[in-house]
């Protein structure tokens, strides 16, 4: 099941396993976690169907190969897939890239122009994109960006220009309940606040424990000024369509909190 979050932009979500035990949420669940409900840090992919061209941004994990193929096929109908974009070659993001290229042999593989190990990730023949590069899909248009907060050097972020949607892979992820699958943040059963963002970043981007906090907070201010997004489409959370900048502001508190909590565990 997928959801169209804006005309032509489809959100595909893989919930992944129940993470309550990893988060130690089972015994004393916080306010955002309903006892008995399962907690997930999903993988998200986005299928952009423009009037002229189509583009898949990330490919979910190898555990969802058939689900991805079925949902993409269902959305595309008679259309073809023109671009498969890999934000970074982490397996939960790139795990089905080869399979999708096999399924749509005319599609072009697009990968980050950053880093220097592309041959180790089967990305040496990809069309490489860097800051400011664009792909015109007709009534939609994407622009690529150097990622600010990342876990691997071969990495790229993206915006969709007509809707000012930011795709800040892996930044701004957070856990949510299974009942909120494919809900927008404003539809979720509990408010999404610093606590959920902390649970994600203190695990996945654990290196925040070792940073100069003020420097990271200045970087977040710069990102807000640069992108000023109307919508945020995270790789590991729910889509934010209201008050997107306020959620980016919350990340400044998250970085400060990680100095106090330290690393909370692992994900992945």
């Amino acid at each position: 099941m997928a959801r169209e979050i804006s005309p032509g932009i489809h959100w595909l979500q893989e919930l992944g396993p129940d993470q309550r035990d990893n988060f130690e949420l089972r015994d004393e669940p916080p306010s955002w976690c309903t006892p008995g409900d399962t907690v997930h840090i999903p993988q998200c992919a986005y299928l952009l169907v423009g009037s002229d061209r189509t583009l898949l941004f990330d490919t979910l994990s190898p555990a969802s190969t058939e689900k991805l193929k079925d949902e993409v096929s269902s959305i595309l109908g008679d259309r073809s897939l023109d671009y498969v974009v890999v934000s970074h070659p982490d397996i939960p993001h790139a795990g089905n890239a080869i399979e999708m290229l096999r399924e749509y042999p005319k599609a072009e593989l697009v990968g980050p122009g950053y880093g220097n190990d592309h041959e180790l990730y089967h990305l040496d023949d990809a069309m490489k994109v860097v800051e400011g590069d664009t792909i015109d899909l007709g009534d939609l248009a994407v622009e690529f960006h150097e990622a600010a907060f990342l876990d691997a050097p071969v990495f790229v972020w993206m915006t969709e220009r007509t809707t000012e949607t930011l795709f800040p892979v892996d930044w701004m992820g957070f856990p949510h309940l299974s009942e909120d699958e494919l809900n927008f943040v404003d539809e979720a059963h509990h408010d999404v606040g610093v606590e959920q963002l902390l649970h994600f970043h203190a695990r996945v981007l654990f290196w925040h424990k070792y940073v100069d906090v003020e420097k990271v907070q200045r970087e977040i201010d710069n990102l807000i000024e640069k992108y000023n997004p109307s919508m945020i489409a995270p790789a590991h959370g729910l889509v934010i369509r209201e008050d997107a900048v306020e959620y980016m502001e919350k990340m400044k508190d998250v970085v400060a909190r990680i100095q106090q909590t330290g690393r909370l565990g692992i994900i992945g």
Partner: protein, 246 residues
């Protein structure tokens, strides 16, 4: 090329070429009392070479277990090949969601814990210098070798391919440590070098280390570790100072 690090630990080094330097993408073979263990499986890029070197180094017995630092492709690329070639190879991995990481039939190790593998004790360490969330550093109690990814690496010149830190004129050069970490652990552009140093010291003080065995660098002898560490922190300081946020 195989290089003995201790009586029971052999470095099987492979590299990829960049424009003006090379980068190791290695595996390490451990001879345990009841079989052979490899730390990481290497890249598909080096599949045939690694497999053949392991075949020779084990006197055709093959590998019995793989301990994985993390699931990144250059580290996990040959797991299926090893299983096809040598049968029931046990996979030990720290991933909490192995199916999401494309890891089949993995035995979970816990970061912060220890485990007996083929009669040998290993501890799994929360790495201060890594990229993926589930990365673990691996300490082999018998040899006192600490296996690391992706931190503690360095680039090298082709003629330095088989060096350990003791083979350089004066331990692993600063520039090779700096360039490697600048390019591969990009988050260091935000690092507070003092926090990183404290964390590395705390980690290393827990274990008596005979050598550090990085997947992406030349092994560092224990006697050279202080020098390497000073250069690493100086590199982190340079990386963060070069990245200015207005």
């Amino acid at each position: 090329m195989t290089v003995n690090i201790t009586d029971s630990v052999t470095w099987i080094n492979e590299s990829i070429a960049h424009s003006d330097f090379n980068e190791h993408v290695s595996v390490y073979l451990i001879e345990a009392e009841t079989g052979y263990i490899v730390v990481d499986s290497g890249s598909v890029h080096h599949r045939r070479s690694i497999s053949e070197q392991l075949q020779d180094a084990t006197d055709d017995k093959g590998v019995d277990a793989i301990i994985l630092s993390h699931s990144d492709y250059p580290h996990s690329g040959n797991i299926s090949e090893f299983r096809d070639r040598w049968g029931d190879v046990e996979l030990i991995a720290s991933s909490g969601s192995p199916e999401i990481q494309g890891l089949q039939n993995a035995t979970k190790c816990t970061i912060g814990g220890s485990m007996d593998v083929l009669g040998r004790e290993f501890s799994f360490i929360d790495p201060p210098l890594a990229d993926r969330s589930h990365t673990t550093w691996i300490y082999d109690h018998a040899s006192r070798v600490l296996f690391t990814a992706d931190g503690f690496g360095n680039y090298h010149q082709p003629e330095e391919e088989d060096y350990t830190s003791a083979d350089f004129d004066n331990v692993t050069p600063f520039e090779e440590i700096y360039q490697y970490h600048r390019d591969n652990l990009v988050w260091l552009r935000y690092v507070d070098p003092g926090k990183l140093r404290d964390a590395l010291d705390a980690t290393l003080n827990q274990f008596e280390v005979s050598s550090v065995a990085p997947i992406h660098g030349n092994p560092i002898r224990g006697s050279d570790l202080d020098t390497y560490l000073d250069r690493l922190i100086r590199a982190a300081d340079k990386i963060t100072n070069e990245y200015v946020v207005a």
